[in-house]
Symmetry: none
């Protein structure tokens, strides 16, 4: 079955909010065998909504609308869609009682216009709103189904999960199950080249690649009959991709590199300290996003000025003078210094030129060194990155996390540099 998600709301067209509802619904529908083919957004305008609904019904079997079910005059999704199907709106007593109870509960007077929310298209399935006032509904006509959901995500999501997913699951014959593989260290086009025969040769499962800043995600999707195991379709292809991507493939469960590293550190109880220059604390800040990380993340320093590198990390003045702040040598001493200072298993350091200024012919913007110090010694990696300051910092942090991952798992670490 094909679906379109049609959002109704001028605030989306004004750019005040992003259409996260479409993302949420889209991520779930494949599980019940429904492919999402289109998203669309229209404003609170009955004619444009009617036209958009007609287009959606022509090209899809299922149309899911979000928004426009509220109490104000702007809210006209129900009225418009009922009109297209030639249905009247009739008072749904149970919904009216729910709305009254809702206002009682929050201790506010129910205004007259709220009654409008209890008028529902005749012959529709009413979806109770446990988190707000506007009920949703499902209208079916022939082979077409229209589901209307409220706009606020806090109301839409539970209604969708509790009532809409079970409704479609009951009707579904096929399901699509996807696995997401995460790769760091191979660019998108190189990754595609690596597996182009698999992409071209497959119809079930299908494979798609897409790039995020500095990394690549692969989606492998199998279409199966209800009750059938997707594993036997997915596994051989995933195994083959794993073989080709090697240890650049770091997760087959759609995990971020940073959360993977945080989990590894916690699991193995490996303590860590960070010493950052051009990333300005990004690695520390990312790590400390994880609740409970204080067990292994002891501390970090951001040493921008040379004096800070000397004073806090004990980097040698001579090292800074001879090789410069952005050098393998300084990176090594920073990593060793922070590890010693905070008495951790791992010390990780970053020093580089994030730009836009500060580059020279010899040491251009984008030149970065990462140091990793541990009981088994210190290694440093050279990066030559492109892009703006923000990209250089983000990609550098990813490289640092990848180095930590490789160190913990005993994988090879390329040290970069062409000399």
């Amino acid at each position: 079955m094909k679906a379109e998600i049609l959002a109704v709301g001028t605030e989306l067209l004004m750019g005040q909010i992003s259409n996260t509802n479409a993302q949420y619904i889209s991520s779930k529908l494949p599980d019940v065998g429904i492919g999402v083919y289109y998203h669309s957004v229209v404003g609170d305008n009955p004619n444009r909504l009617k036209e958009s609904l007609k287009t959606a019904l022509e090209r899809c079997d299922v149309v899911i609308t979000t928004g426009g079910l509220g109490p104000t005059q702007d809210d006209l999704t129900k009225e418009t869609i009922a009109g297209v199907f030639g249905k009247r709106l009739v008072l749904h007593e149970e919904s009216l009682t729910s709305i009254k109870n809702f206002f009682n509960k929050i201790g506010r007077q129910m205004t007259q216009n709220n009654e409008k929310q209890a008028y529902m298209p005749e012959d529709s399935i009413i979806l109770k709103n446990n988190n707000g006032t506007a009920p949703g509904c499902i209208i079916g006509q022939g082979s077409k189904v229209v589901v209307m959901l409220p706009g606020p995500p806090s109301e839409m999501k539970p209604m969708f999960d509790d009532y809409v997913m079970p409704y479609f699951k009951n009707k579904s014959e096929f399901l699509i199950e996807s696995k997401f593989l995460r790769v760091f260290g191979i660019g998108e086009s190189a990754m595609e080249t690596l597996i182009i025969d698999l992409i071209d040769g497959q119809t079930n499962p299908t494979i798609a690649t897409y790039a995020k800043e500095g990394e690549v995600t692969l989606r492998v999707s199998a279409k199966v009959k209800v009750g059938e195991d997707s594993e036997k379709i997915l596994k051989p292809v995933i195994d083959e991709i794993k073989k080709r991507a090697g240890d650049c493939l770091y997760s087959d469960r759609n995990q971020n590199l940073d959360s993977l590293v945080a989990n590894l550190l916690l699991e193995k109880n490996i303590t860590i300290a960070t010493a950052e220059s051009c990333t300005g604390g990004l690695v520390a800040e990312t790590l400390t996003n994880f609740p409970g990380i204080s067990k292994v993340f002891i501390g970090g320093v951001v040493t921008y000025a040379n004096e800070a590198k000397e004073e806090i990390l004990g980097v040698n003045k001579q090292t800074l003078e001879k090789f410069g702040a952005v050098s393998r040598e300084t990176a090594a001493e920073m990593a060793e210094g922070v590890r010693k200072r905070l008495n951790t298993n791992i010390g990780i350091s970053i020093t580089g030129i994030a730009g836009p200024d500060g580059g020279t012919a010899e040491k251009p913007v984008g030149l970065v060194y990462i140091g990793l110090s541990s009981e088994s010694g210190t290694i440093t990696k050279e990066l030559r990155l492109s892009g703006n300051r923000n990209r250089i910092r983000t990609v550098t942090a990813l490289h640092a996390f990848d180095m930590i991952r490789r160190h913990i798992l005993g994988l090879k670490i390329e040290i970069g540099g062409q000399k």
Copy 2:
């Protein structure tokens, strides 16, 4: 002029990412007199893209596409749209050179499929991609204009700002000119109440308030003919708002609190060092987003464990034992310690409980102390914040920046706490 934003990408229909590009573009187009009437999303499928483009061209004057310009076989926006307009794709030498340079710079081999990105529709205006490989373009035919932009927001946004906005500005008869006023320390509904008479009474300019995490932005927009001065419409209203918001209004140029502080530090050559616990380096990381900040930001430390607070900052063991790590006393010693250690004008410290664990009845999640040490002494501020870990960290950082701003400008600093 009416516009539709047409995103191309199966990853959107699979719910892997949200269509933030549409939000970004929608928030800007009104400034050049273009109203956004529709958003739509289609997958990487030439037939559905063609149909969607035709629908968009029927109902709108301007169609802006995002995505599908990359090097892989999936990427077919250019090919499809050129087809609809009956245009060939021709090699754009300059773009090919840019792409080659891009790969040289990052030290990776350019694969054959990347050349595809340099083939552009004939007679189109080429939009240079300064942050990636895929150029964009503008095709005009009769009264219709199609703009094609790359999908990654880090490439799309600067291309849109640098080339697309000026292109439309040149063609527009009316402009909407907006000023954005930034307020910290007054909530959204309190702010609206403060100026409700202005909001209700005005048609040109219009005033809108919107809340971001922890702060409020006011947009004051004047509609003017091209060449007409918006200042005389905007200024009286803005002056009145400034009077009412007082020193909580920190920018009338839509500047972030952090960038305002970075500029103040640089302008006045005030050096700073940071000592963070629960924010994990967020203040340092935010500050170091600013190019050139190394002149005044000497360094920072992230002291998660008590030992790190003692070892690096010289916080007294007794202070930690008697008052705890999350206390005014520890915050004060952290700020003083980092200032002394790195010999700066200002030392700023943060210690608190970001949750979800670690709270007690006496010291609940959301309790945070900020310390600011300078030549004129040390002050500490107590916050009691609500929300999840991420919100607590973000809002705490904003409070720290506001304290620095108030310190530098000699404004009053509330120290919080009810005793």
